[in-house]
Amino acid sequence: MRSLRRFWKRTWQFVTRQNDERRLREEMEQHLALETEANIRAGMAPAEARRAALLKFGSVEAVRESYHAEKGLPLLETTLQDCSYALRMLRKSPAFTVVAVLTLALGIGANAAIFTLVHALMLKHLPVADPKMLVRLGNGNNCCVGISSSDNGELSLFSTDSYEYLRKNVPEFEELTAMQAGFAYRPVVVRRDAGGETPRSVMGEFVAGNYFRTFGLAAANGRLLEDRDDIAGSPLTAVMSYETWKTRFNGDASVVGSTFRVNTKPVTVVGIAPKGFYGDRLLGTPPEYFLPIEAMPGIANVTYVHGTEVMWLYLVGRVRPGVNLGALQQKVSVLLRQQLAETPHYSSQEGKAKLQIQHIVLTPGGAGIQAMQEHYNQKAKVLMAASVLVLLIACANLANLLLARGMARKAEMNVRTALGARRGRIVRQLLTESLLLAGMGGLAGLAVAYIGARALLAMAFPGAVNNPIDATPSAAGLAFAFGLSVLTGMLFGVAPAWVASKAEPVDALRGARSGSGGTTLLQRTLVVVQAGLSLVLLVGAGMFAESLGKLEHIDLKLDPVNRYIAHINPQTAGYSQRQLGDLYRTLEERFHALPGVEKVGISSYTPMEDDNNNWSVMVQGKPDPHLSASYIKANADYFDSVGTRVVMGRGISVNDTASSPTVAVVNREFVRQMFKPGENPIGQHFGGGPKSAGDWEIVGVVENTAYQSATWKDHMMYFVPLMQRQPSADYPIDKDEEMYAGAIVLKTSRPIPQMEELTRRTLAGINPNLSVVKFQTFTAQIADQFSEERMLSRLTMLFGALALLLATLGLYGVTAYGVARRTSEIGIRMALGAERRNVTAMVMRGTMLQALVGLSIGIPVAMVCVRFVRSQLYEIKGIDAGVLICSVVTLMAAALLAGFIPARRAASIEPAQALRAE
């Protein structure tokens, strides 16, 4: 009870900063006066009386200290005292403080930024109920629409029939749902019915009726899709994403229940998806609308939803508790094979053989379809490794700075010890300083992390709308980086003090310097390690830059100058296949009428865009090679508009119509793979299989223009006139998806800045529903394909530069410190006759030696690390001599610079002054 009362009194005194200093002084003075008087009365002389009184009283200081120890909260007070002292000291050496805080901020910030993104990308769980019970049927990323069997037997794409079969026959799934695999390539055009706004081309995903139920979601407003929406003939409904609702419609409740025109068809928005739900996969631009699968034929005008074996769905299921996944995988595979056995694709001898190995691999579905994660996996690892290296360099720098500072304050520590400070007290004070520094660095690092994460996101997903990946720094990443920096700070801040406090205080009072001149081995080691790590990062950056350079200089065999590409979707605009001939003719006329337009190419898709359509091919009269080639329908102007050269025979002409003989133009690679060297392909026939080998007659050969990717080497392609169909096709034109062109390529005589607006107007003039899905210059489209490599290259260069900066700072710091410590030694040397340039040379030698040792460590490490990043590089086998030499030269130049300034300072030392200033 008493002690509690005391504690409260103390706290109160602390808070109100009571200082009864005066009272104590007065009391003590009075006491001494009384004692002195008593002594005088006893017969002493006044001076002696006073002296005797003081003796009896005891040490005034000791009393004062015991007195103060009873008041206030000594621990807290001393800590605050330490803090304010530390701040003062840090303010006194601004260079040190700024460099230390900056170092920490960069190291922590870079790491936290990368960690945040990787965390958000890799470890993000779908914001759904109980993600652990979700299972995905399939482990691959094949997309999007087609009939194919997998070479390794692993199927991830399924037909509607397969889905319904599995759903009926696998009770182990509480729910099994299906979602469109390729919605990212098939935007829908949406416009609110009331309001007269222009239609927008947005992401819309077609999903099964139990999609939201499988994920265990509840609507933010209205209701979500249910089974009754997914019945053929039921009224068209849709669910809007929360982000869209908030950003485009300001959370207007009247949106629910209102009608929207999706691809011109009226659809009722029945509800809003829950907040934070961005779909079943991570995409830069997540779906804005979810629609039922049964609505797809009507809205998207596709024919593969029913009655075909076309595979186009991803499947995700929620398993019942206690279900054995291994057994379930077996069962599902067996059932699927049963169902596929009935389909035409697997009915032939060959098909039956292939069917045996087809199976499904069950993968965890809690994070959704992992397409993006797998794609970025390797890149993420490379970036994380680089950022950890930078952090290590930063910590080494910090350690060096603190060590140097600690050594410099050795004398101060000795005096403190002599004055009676306990070791614990000194250590506590230094700890406070280090923690304060680490704290400031951490806060600055937070800012860097936030900005860095945002910049990274913008680089990785240019043009993303409603990106679900959060840029706020992840707690885990921050904690890791922060923790490491605090640890380094504490270790290297306290260590020198610990060492110093062991020394005899009397040495410091005598003024002797501890003999060690110059830097310690630890400091030099740290700098060497820094240099080595920097070299590794520099080499890495060099290699990524080289790879990017190689990529960008690949001859794509096209001409992007003065070319514009407009992506369209006549299918969603409501055109039937039979109306396309007129449409294409009108397009050609109207665009040719525009001033400056020379060529108007129309095709299924264009070079260097993320699209491809592969069909199996076989030359008539030759054995089936089991190969496939990309298939494009194009008009006569197409080759000229993209700049593809015809090297043999002819291109597509205006005379190639629906009624003329079916012809095709193949690329050089097709000829190389399908024909023997020297054989003339012109006049030969080819088709999809043995029965259809006579479908197309080859009339010309074109260059190997790069399609989809610059690095696709053995890419066979064939081009077919827009309105022609293979004679062997056993389905009517109304079911032929290939008839729809996807792009218009315009070649102009000069750059036309307002081309996009002109294009929109021209298309709208033909049909208001014919909107521009995407408009780019050819150059921009090509550049987009390199965006990832460019990002990686930029980032590694940034990290390399950062590492170099930190290493240079470290080198400079250590050299400067060494010079300062050796001032008297240098003074003696110069007094004994050493020239200034000798002194400079001596200092520089030290610096360069450290850099060289660092190099000798860094080069073998770099060579080992190359192995890990080789997969990310284009046609790079090992470290290029050029890259290595460049990195080495850069590092040596930095070392030269780092050593030069202190060396000059050393050379300008006045010997007399140096000797005097002990």
Partner: protein, 140 residues
Amino acid sequence: MFECFLLLSKREYDILLLETKRTGDVKQKTDVKQGTLALMVLKTLEVLGPLHGFGIARRIEQISGDLLFVNQGTLYPVLLKLEQEGSVDSDWGTSENNRRARYYRLTKTGRKQLQSEVQDWQQTTDIIARFLSAKAEELS
């Protein structure tokens, strides 16, 4: 320049710092623990009534018959502690020779504390006394 705690005392006085050893040169007197000092202060205040610091020190000196070595200064922290615990109250007053002095007096809490401490002491001394006077046979 760095900060440090400055010394005020002159070289002649032997006790300067907290941690360095005491080289006491008055060997006959014994040190007193802080707890017993508090007890003595309280008793003094009970017997003599309100008193200033010097008076208390003098009284303790008298009673202990100069056998106790108390640096008079150490009284003040003890007085502060007692004040914080609520056992004594203090206020400014005038001393015998018309000087301003801080007078301390016992509070009700202090009286109670004194009583309980005295009881403890009595108990302790009784037990020890019994032990010291016990003969071999009585302990069988």
